[in-house]
């Protein structure tokens, strides 16, 4: 009897301990950073036009990239979750490649392709990607879409196909069933995947800097600003941007959490 209580207690200690440890670890990092920055550095860095345009660029590009990623990921994940087809394993693996590649590897690959004859053709006639803002979106999209697919696949796999089957008999074609049944039921998961994608996109650095460069005032995102700050040996500025990134991340994540109603599905 006693042994059981002791065991239960030690389990509690263990789980609470781990939770506390990790939360403290992350909080400590943020707090130490905060304290390291001089009060006037905040003003110097943040109030400059450069900081505002950097933030704006980062947020807008991440949002566009995430939305695009979701637009692709939702139907793809749905198909992967519902259908079995020959070569599915291969396709699954191919779609996972961007996750495995380091961002710089992915960015380099994109740069090489964009610099090829075919790539040049696209860039001359459609959109310029290399060293331009669309390049930021392309890089972020490429990194993030695979994550979104994986996350959404799990979401759709969780939804019982029975609901869709019943809707076919109630008169839905596959579009109607998808839009009226599958998507609403996946709503929570879609939002969560979007958050995941957005957070990853905002923090994306390696691929972005390779494809779009990190030109101040043109293609500088918050992570690029951090990198450039270190390259300039301007520690204060670097830390301000790091804290900025943390702040942006926390605000968005908290915001979406509060805006998402709890659903019992």
């Amino acid at each position: 009897m006693r042994a059981r209580r002791v065991a239960d207690r030690s389990f509690s200690v263990f789980t609470w301990g781990m939770l506390g440890l990790l939360t403290a670890y992350i909080s400590l990092i943020v707090i130490v950073l905060f304290l390291r920055v001089n009060a006037d550095s905040y003003g110097d860095t943040l109030l400059s036009g450069r900081a505002l345009s950097t933030i704006r660029l980062s947020v807008i590009c991440a949002t566009i990239a995430s939305v695009l990623a979701l637009l692709f990921a939702v139907p793809i994940a749905y198909q992967l979750a519902r259908k079995d087809f020959p070569g599915k394993n291969l396709v699954d693996t191919i779609l996972d490649v961007p996750i495995i590649l380091s961002p710089v590897a992915l960015g380099t690959a994109l740069l090489v392709v964009l610099s090829s004859d075919a790539g040049e053709l696209v860039q001359d006639n459609l959109v310029s990607f290399t060293f331009a803002i669309p390049g930021i979106v392309l890089a972020q999209f490429s990194v993030v879409v695979a994550l979104a697919i994986r996350s959404l696949k799990a979401v759709f796999e969780q939804i019982d196909p029975r609901y869709e089957e019943v809707s076919y008999f109630l008169g839905c074609n596959r579009w109607q069933s998808f839009l009226r049944i599958s998507l609403p039921l996946a709503r929570g998961g879609i939002i969560a995947s979007f958050i995941l994608a957005w957070a990853r996109a905002v923090g994306e650095f390696g691929a972005t800097i390779t494809v779009a460069g990190a030109v101040s005032g043109k293609t500088e995102t918050i992570p690029s600003a951090i990198y450039l700050g270190l390259a300039r040996v301007d520690i204060q500025e670097t830390l301000v941007y790091v804290l900025l990134l943390v702040f942006v991340a926390i605000s968005v994540l908290m915001g979406v959490r509060y805006l998402t109603p709890k659903r019992s599905a």
């Binding site: 019982d160 089957e165 109630l170 109607q176 009226r180 039921l185 019992s264």
Partner: protein, 363 residues
């Protein structure tokens, strides 16, 4: 309405073998079988939700092959009901009508009718289906399926998760509905009572094949195999041999252990054939000593003694040892009959195995 010919299907854990079924228009057809017999699988195949490997399926005249048919209105209520969790009751029920762009006025009318019929009018405004009881969910699912005026209605174990009393109510509701709407119903169940109360014809399914199809009476009285007999609780089964066939008198005699049992003559069986004799517990009569013998119980009269008495709701099951028969005979009796007969366990009784109800199955 539904025609299935030589259907076979093979999935990793399950096989369907040579299924042949024909459901007539307007019929209430029940597929009855134990759990794991493959009933849901067969239903999914007929609906086009799964693909079969061999054979032909015609649903309302259209061929089904791995995808739901167009052209004919079919409704499906699966076992878990699949009530849409993200909609309220009214939206759930009217879903099919809205998708098909039914005119709002007639949709409203149909909704009111069905709600009245199924007794769910006061549930219509519930914003969430999560708070409904099983019975209420069942009725909502039915309403959802019926509002689109289907030609065929598929029900998979519609009443399995309900308690006895609610089940009875819903069975009655379904019977009412049948008489108001004209719809062919294909129902899957493992519950005998449901099958017999509702089915115009019943197909018995075991382990991926159909054992027997026919009206309820026929299945009860004339089971085609011991498997079917046992499944339908025709408990009294004796092994014996046909010793005499008298076509003129229309009777045959079968020797079972130390006695001879008389049953109606059947052409397919001949002298010397080994058979199993089956009689339902309800068809074994205890003779009242103070009353004259009725014509139907004059044959197969035996003496015996009650061994065991098991109470059931409304009556008893008596295990009786008959002289000359090795196997004890099970008799079902109502309370009042038991009292009238003034029986106790260990009483000596005279029984008649009603000849008309005795059925022989070749071994």
């Amino acid at each position: 309405m539904i025609r299935i010919k030589d259907l076979s299907a093979d999935f990793d854990s399950f096989k369907l073998d040579d299924i042949n079924l024909h459901v007539l228009e307007g019929e209430h057809f029940v597929l009855l079988g134990p759990s794991g017999a493959g009933k849901t699988l067969l239903t999914e195949i007929i609906l086009g939700l799964r693909r079969h490997s061999k054979g032909e399926i015609l649903l309302g005249g259209q061929t089904v092959r791995g995808s739901p048919v167009d052209g004919i209105s079919v409704s499906y209520v699966p076992q878990d009901l699949a009530i849409f969790p993200h909609m309220g009751v009214r939206d759930n029920i009217t879903f099919g009508a809205r998708v098909r762009r039914m005119e709002p006025a007639s949709m409203g009318r149909k909704l009111a009718e069905l709600a009245e019929l199924l007794d769910i009018t006061d549930l219509l405004d519930r914003p969430s289906t999560a708070t409904l009881s099983m019975g209420e969910k069942q009725r909502v699912a039915l309403a959802r399926a019926l509002i689109v005026e289907p030609r065929i209605l598929f029900l998979d174990e519609p009443f399995s998760s309900l308690d006895f009393y609610i089940r009875r109510q819903l069975i009655e509701k379904l019977q009412e509905i049948k008489s108001t709407l004209s719809v062919t119903i294909f129902q899957v169940t493992h519950n005998h009572e449901e099958a017999f109360m509702l089915g115009d014809r019943i197909a018995i399914m075991f382990e991926g094949r159909i054992a027997q199809v026919g009206p309820p009476m026929e299945l009860q009285r004339r089971p085609v195999s011991l498997e079917v007999a046992r499944f339908l609780l025709a408990q009294n089964i004796f092994e014996g041999e046909v010793v005499e066939v008298d076509h003129e008198a229309g009777r045959m005699r079968t020797r079972v252990d130390g006695v001879c049992l008389i049953s109606p003559a059947v052409d397919q069986l001949s002298c010397g054939q080994e058979v199993s004799a089956v009689i339902r517990p309800e068809e074994v009569h205890i003779i009242r000593p103070d009353r004259p013998l009725g014509a139907k119980v004059r044959e197969n009269l035996f003496d015996g003694r009650i061994e065991k008495r098991i109470p059931t709701p409304g009556g008893y099951v008596l295990t009786t040892r008959i002289e000359g028969l090795r196997t004890p005979v099970e008799i079902r009796l109502s309370n009042c009959a038991f009292d009238d007969l003034d029986l106790t366990s260990k009483s000596r009784v005279r029984v008649s195995l009603k000849a008309e109800a005795l059925w022989l199955i070749p071994r």
